[in-house]
Homo-oligomer: 132 residues x 4
């Protein structure tokens, strides 16, 4: 089975919510399967609406690029190798907050978190990753 | 307060999941706020992937039309008054499974359910509505 | 492993090409993985260009709906249960020519064939399925 | 005849695959005709999914601009003459890996390669070009 189950995805979302409460930053949290399709999503009260799309897109980007979105920031800057990358695939996100979810080294999905600073988004996403 | 909270949305999703289990039909379940923006989402294991988009779109359609999506089926048929309605707003869904969520007569959001027959989708959506 | 390999996808495409030659109808043939992402594609000389998109979309529709696209034709007609279905998910195809690819009962991808009559498209897609 | 045949396109793809194997970098490889429409495509096992779209888009960009995509990198940077170019035509790719395919000086199509470093993508695309 290479796609994350709803119960695993819910555990990931709940852990991310707990971390977001710890740091007092309401977040949008999305979990997609290994094909980039949404499995679970939660918008915490007060989290900005733009981050609904951004969180889902971060998770999808992590699947499509097989990498955390934070790994894309430097290489997609003006003058860098993949400048313009974010225009492809219907729109990728090239700042942190999306991280692949793996079980025994196999990617089963990805989490995307958005609504805080990028540093906060990454921290909350990592809490989700740790729960799997 | 006219927008549904995450805790209320989660209660709605959980009630819908329980009903979907009762009828042994895995479902995609989405709850949006009074602006049509996603608050909570769950894809049950085995639910078809097309219904991710359809469930979210049903909930959003219910907000945009201020009506259950089942109310749109007849009026959007060839020859009927709103034939072609589904082409608008970036794509509406004109079959049942989307229902507004109200508190004291005020719309606070909507639920969209998809992956079964339309009758099953409506039944599961109604179980979500009843939980609010 | 739940996603089709390139060598298996190529075998499927080649079998479909052979069948298309048999019936003297140039075709567009697409194979996607279990997430609906393209793995292999071939446009035979003389096949119409519209069917590039249609064949890929048929394969993707089969994954999203977990069904052959021919199963959608009747239920998406005016007056039928899922009228308007093709508007969802960024555009589904609701006529025959897309079929899931399974190995030991597990869906590993899908084939989509387009450029002939629907009957021809289905026949060629079935030849692809049989090669797996 | 100004459009590449499937057999020529397949030869191009196969040569690119062979080169990708040489350098041990799984790739997405697309060949389009002189109108920018897909003729042949292969995703090697393990190649990232984002590069499906990127490889096809590189090939299409090469046709639309009548140039290798590597020729666009400098002129589309902030401050340069065509800054913002990648926003046009539904999305162009402005880094290397797309190259026109010519026969006797006439453009018959283009190849697009993606999934490695830009240098690797260009090398593999050049191997495809050399096979024509």
């Amino acid at each position: 089975m290479s796609a994350i189950s709803l119960s695993s995805a819910t555990r990931v979302v709940d852990a991310a919510i707990a971390k977001a409460r710890d740091i007092a930053q309401p977040m949008n949290i999305a979990v997609v399967d290994d094909g980039g399709h949404l499995v679970a999503f939660a918008r915490m009260d007060g989290a900005i609406k733009a981050s609904i799309d951004i969180s889902i897109r971060k998770a999808r980007t992590s699947i499509l690029m097989n990498a955390p979105t934070s790994a894309l920031t430097a290489i997609a800057q003006p003058g860098a190798e993949l400048y313009g990358l974010e225009q492809t695939c219907g729109g990728l996100v090239i700042f942190g907050g999306g991280i692949p979810l793996t079980v025994d080294g196999v990617v089963v999905g990805a989490i995307g978190v958005s609504a805080g600073s990028v540093e906060q988004d990454v921290k909350v996403a990592e809490a989700g990753v740790a729960a799997l």
